[in-house]
Symmetry: C2
Subunit: 261 residues, 2 copies
């Protein structure tokens, strides 16, 4: 699949919103192999950023369901007027715009996608299984990723403590995955898509930071799952290019260090 990343950068308040809106995103050349139930008049746009695991998970959900969409790449250092218009509260990606109506927050977007396009459900059908999927998704976003962020700023003993904390959190996920093909059961689903941050992002961040906590030896079940997940075409298409990502993380870390001096 060839993907066109369209960059809409800078709000250009002086030029006005009208000009920015005229810069229309180009339709990504996405041909789904999966059945798709979308009406022809549906217009789906995803405002994302190539290195964001939150953006990548929405992309993956759309691809797994076979929903054609326009992908709009945002320059986060100079956000577009459209992004600010569509997500005035957080001013963040990802934002899904469906027939002109914007939805922000990746977990909210994924629920919307599953409820709007009911083919290839990503959430389980049983209410208890759905609750468990939502519980672990919150755990990944509010615990694991929040702790992972702390590593960048920590040093010495504090860094060791943060790494211990992440290790404990990953052990909980390892245990949740035990005896299953995927987090969602026999096939990839909602929680796998949320956990895709471990596939797309976690390893690269660890490498850039020079830490060594997330290894196959320590987490054989999670690494087994990563191997399986990577066999899926839609996942391959969403992979974050490693060298570009490493360079991006290192540049960001340098900027953060300079800013805190």
């Amino acid at each position: 699949m060839a993907e066109i990343h369209v960059m809409i950068s800078s709000c250009e308040r002086n030029v006005g919103i009208a000009t920015a809106i005229r810069r229309k995103p180009v339709l990504a050349n996405f041909t789904s192999k999966l059945q798709q139930t979308m009406a022809d008049e549906d217009e789906v746009k995803l405002f994302g950023m190539w290195a964001s695991p939150y953006s990548r998970r929405v992309e993956l959900a759309l691809k797994l369901k076979g929903i054609p969409f326009q992908y709009v790449e945002e320059d986060l250092s100079s956000k577009s007027c459209l992004l600010l218009k569509y997500n005035p509260v957080h001013q963040k990606i990802p934002v899904l715009v469906h027939n002109g109506k914007p939805i922000a927050e990746s977990l909210v977007i994924m629920e919307y996608i599953d409820e709007t396009w009911t083919n290839n459900p990503i959430l389980p059908q049983d209410p208890y299984d759905r609750a468990m999927a939502r519980f672990w998704a919150k755990f990944i976003d509010e615990k694991l990723l929040m702790t992972a962020r702390k590593v960048s700023f920590a040093s010495g003993k504090e860094k060791e403590q943060v790494i211990d904390e992440i290790t404990e959190q990953l052990k909980l996920l390892e245990s949740e995955l035990q005896g299953k093909e995927y987090f969602s059961g026999p096939s990839i689903g909602y929680l796998d898509i949320v956990a895709s941050v471990l596939v797309f992002w976690f390893g690269n961040v660890q490498e850039a930071l020079g830490v060594d906590m997330f290894t196959q030896e320590k987490f054989p079940i999670i690494f087994g799952w990563i191997g399986k997940v990577f066999e899926i075409d839609a996942v391959k298409e969403c992979r974050i290019p490693k060298e570009k990502h490493l360079e991006y993380i290192r540049t960001r870390l340098e900027a953060l260090k300079s800013a805190s001096k």
Copy 2:
């Protein structure tokens, strides 16, 4: 409605889990006026804490849907074995236990309740409206309440900045509510239940902290909504007793200050 708050305190590891389990919670004398579709054999327990807005929102959701439940009051300074068993990841209330199966995290519990007992739906039916309700619920929990927590620790100029931040966040909610009877539309629903933290908790915390940002003058629409919400019986039943709450907050603040000295 007479409610029995059963206190199960202390894990008593020396005594063992079996003893703690024998301390059975007493069935709350709850007779619903609303239609309820629950099977007789359903057993629903809520592990909560009287001063927690997260616990109160689950209680309110159960009451609005007319689901009989046992309420188990937890002593958070000495958590019960049952709580640790049912929520080993976070070791926090609220936990809903339905026929022996535990669910943690108030927003996850509310979705579970709505999907399991489909009478008196609390979430809207339309996927976009559902997405908006979830978006604002996340905003209340991850922005407003997180900012509100900072007030306790801040002083001087920093405190002023935090108060400005909360004011901006409350303005966004005020604007979201404009032109509506309730957050959820013409009747009380999911987002109103989540926002009930403004009804049950926010005013008392503000009073105990001696700040003055959340007033009828500044937020006439939110205060109008609070007035309407308080006319609902189930809401009245979930109200946190003011004087007891003020004393509780002041004691906690003193403890926090002593700990940070």
